[in-house]
Amino acid sequence: MDFVVEMLNIRKEFPGIVANDNITLQLKQGEVHALLGENGAGKSTLMGMLFGMYRPDQGVIKMNGSEVKITSPNVANDLGIGMVHQHFKLVHNFTTTENIILGIEPKRGLSVDIKSAAGRVAELSKRYGLNIDPFAKIEDISVGMQQRVEIMKMLYRNANILIFDEPTAVLTPQEISDLIEIMRNLIKEGKSIILITHKLKEIKAVADRCTVIRRGKYIGTVDVKNTSEAEMAKMMVGRPVSFKVAKVPSNPGETILKIDNLNVQSNKKVLGLKNFSLEVKAGEILGIAGVEGNGQSELVEAITGLRKVESGTISVKGTDITALSVRKRIDTGIAHIPEDRHKRGLILDYTVEDNMILEVYKNPPFSKLGLLNRQAIHEYANKLINEFDVRSGEGGASIARSLSGGNQQKAIIGREIELDPELLIAVQPTRGLDVGSIEYIHKRLIEQRDKGKAVLLVSLELDEVMNVSDRIAVVNNGELIGMVSADQTNENEIGLMMAGVKGGTHHE
């Protein structure tokens, strides 16, 4: 046996839930082992135990055949286990080297010996093909490079077991293939990798074996080479899954949303959206593809009235709405499924009922002369709860905070679709949801399109944009790089455009 890490029959309970139930994961020396499961399946809990953040209630963890007790992340470090977190833990105004040595600074007398550390970073960088500039500041380098700094942190600490937690979520397709290359290099140098993901394509591309868990239970471990994506998806979800979104070709009508030469400032007080022009027609889904932070939020907030426009115009059905209030825009027929359901989408301390009327409380029958009509609100909420299958402890009287993420999202989607908008803006509508929910939400979006509504879909998941949209606008650095039709493009083309390479308009 040449297992470097074995987690045998692991069980972990949290109050109210069994997060891991009899799960076994065995990592061979020199392999990339994928850990596949939906959100909430227990992947993070399992890895948390390997990294010393929790202790298992039952089961043993063995390294190279002998049992170990990993009581804290420091112990994990000493055992050579390192983790690249999904959200990077970097100090933005430090250099890469300063970040890498944080906590284990080499000292010369009283001062930090940056020079020798930078030398070691450069040497490791060369050996693994990471291409890190030891003196670049984090705030000046790309997200993909920041991830490499995180990887370097582990290598600098001599980790042999590397855990990657959803590493591709923030990367462009090109950066993803670079990352896959880096992972191969790491394996060549004798490291072993656990890859946490729910993306089957990446597992196919890089992993040797794959362990699937579902709702805290061990489903099985398969050889990736001999297993199809569909088979793995079925193991993950528990039933066959369709990858393609079923839809008929679009039938675009009149222009609903027209954006002309829009300039919008970002939170950093620089232009987050530059000379941006766009049209969305009735009966089509326009997808916005781009890496996070390239002007998507500014675009959506400008259309919905949550952010001031510097110059340019926005019109809906020929009416200029650039200067209108949020309320007036809602009345014009704009509905918005916001990116962050906790920040914007819901008032978490309100009941589900009260959340359902967030945009319409002033309209009859929900209020009259400033008095709320509880009965009407109650009926309206119940209707939405039934129609969109929002599950909660006490129905409409449940506090929104107590609902699961998927049910919170369904509540928001129901609320927005019920507004019967001319333009539905859906931003990351499936973030953090399981496969079943994603299918359902996509179906609802296409249903809106087929009813002749305009849909603007903003998503960081390229697959989602490509599957659901009819046309795709690619943004980079606040500019519209190009527009392609979804059925005539491929991931590579969009990926290049996401990285800022112009092109694509030839499809029009």
Binding site: E13, P15, G16, I17, V18, D21, R214, R215, G216, K217, S228, E229, A230, V237, G238, R239, P240, V241, S242, F243, K244, A246, T304, L306, S325, V326, R327, K328, R329, I330, H336, P338, K343, R344, G345, L346, I347, L348, D349, Y350, D354, L358, E359, Y361, K362, S367, G370, L371, L372, R374, D389, R391, S404, G406, K410, D434, V435, G436, S437, Y440
Partner: protein, 383 residues
């Protein structure tokens, strides 16, 4: 009894225990001490009336703080608003000889407007320039203090340099009928004003679109903005209403419990309003009950001093301790959470079966179960 109410009761209980420990440490019998403390506020009709009168301004300042809290604002300017509102009412009362039935309501309205005006300043500063309301409303306290100090001294001085002329009885909330009912107590119509205010505010918060907007802004201003609610407008209105309520506290204090205004004194009821609101879980009815409790302690204090050896300083300390526990009720809440959680964790079998239920049922994806037709249409194998 809901959770919040339970937390408040526990806070009171802990405060009383701490008070008992104080009495024990200073060599007094806590049972006798507490007996006289509570008898002092309730033993006779007159004492009961005085307790209610003492509570009256506290109800209104507590309500003021609670109302602002619901919109996410910390109104720490209640003393200034109370002083200025009471001052405005006093000025009207001293400068006019309208019949009582017109004058008193006019004074109540003036008091409300005075307080609202005073709170509008921090409200507007917050809405327009994002100046934190705690800083600006504390400053307003001192502006109010000195305006009253100067104006009363210059134009309305009475027998003593430190207070205004006395209001005629027709220009106060005093009611001989109510006084007599409570054995000559100084209870007055201010109590009705306070109760009415509690009911109106509870109604606004729970039954109106205005209340819905205010609470939306308080709970999550980003979501409120998203829903088309004007955050700035609601911040200004919320501060003004809170200030108006504190202004009413000034009216009932200076033209009800007393009949003139003192200068050079910041009314203690203002800051006590914060403790009242906290103990009352920031709800109107909660504030009413909490204010009655504080009123009971304040009016029983004297009786305890008189009947036992417990020195007045100890009595004040006990009250302060209870206020302290009320104010830190969030600690009590955490403790309660912990107890509830650890109790839940021991109920293992129930949870196990719940998880198993969802797991063994293949059609339960935690989302929409597919119809028979959909099940048929699911494509098989690779796409």
């Amino acid at each position: 009894m809901n959770r919040k109410g339970l937390v408040s009761l526990i806070a009171v209980f802990l405060g009383l225990i701490a008070g008992a420990v104080f009495m024990l440490l200073t060599g007094h019998n806590p049972f006798i001490g507490f007996m006289f403390l509570f008898q002092g506020g309730t033993l006779t009709l007159e004492r009961l009336g005085n307790t209610l009168a003492t509570s009256t301004p506290l109800i209104l300042t507590g309500l003021s703080v609670a109302f602002a809290f619901r919109t996410g604002l910390f109104n720490i300017g209640t003393p200034g608003q109370m002083l200025f509102g009471g001052f405005c009412a006093t000025v009207v009362g001293l400068s006019s000889d309208l019949p009582s039935a017109v004058l008193v309501p006019l004074m109540v309205i003036t008091g409300f407007l005075g307080g609202a005006l005073f709170a509008a300043v921090p409200g507007i500063l917050k809405a327009v320039f994002n100046v934190h309301e705690v800083v600006s409303s504390i400053m307003m306290n001192w502006i109010g203090y000195w305006i009253v100090y100067y104006t009363v001294k210059a134009y309305f001085t009475g027998n003593m340099e430190t207070e205004s002329r006395l209001l005629p009885n027709s220009a106060t909330l005093r009611s001989p009928w109510l006084s007599n009912l409570f054995g000559g107590s100084y209870i007055n119509l201010g109590l009705l004003v306070a109760i009415l205010a509690v009911l109106i505010i509870a109604f606004i918060l729970n039954q109106t679109t205005f209340g819905y907007e205010l609470k939306s802004v308080g709970y999550n201003r980003h979501a409120a903005e998203y829903g088309g609610i004007s955050v700035n407008k609601n911040i200004i209105f919320s501060m003004m209403i809170a200030g108006g309520l504190a202004g009413l506290a000034g009216v009932v204090q200076y033209a009800g419990n007393a009949n003139n205004i003192q200068i050079g004194v910041m009314p203690t009821q203002g800051f006590d309003g914060i403790a009242v609101s906290l103990l009352g879980a920031n709800t109107p009815i909660g504030s009413l009950l909490a204010a009655l409790f504080f009123g009971l302690l304040y009016s029983g204090r004297g009786f305890m001093n008189a009947m036992t050896e417990i020195p007045p300083e100890i009595a004040d300390t006990i009250i302060a301790t209870i206020i302290y526990f009320a104010a830190t009720s969030v600690l009590v809440e955490r403790l309660l959470d912990k107890i509830l959680k650890s109790r839940q964790a021991t109920k293992k079998p129930l949870i196990d079966s719940a998880v198993q239920n969802t797991d063994n049922n293949n059609t339960n994806y935690g989302f929409m179960p597919p119809t028979e037709e959909e099940k048929e249409n699911v494509p098989k194998g690779d796409e």
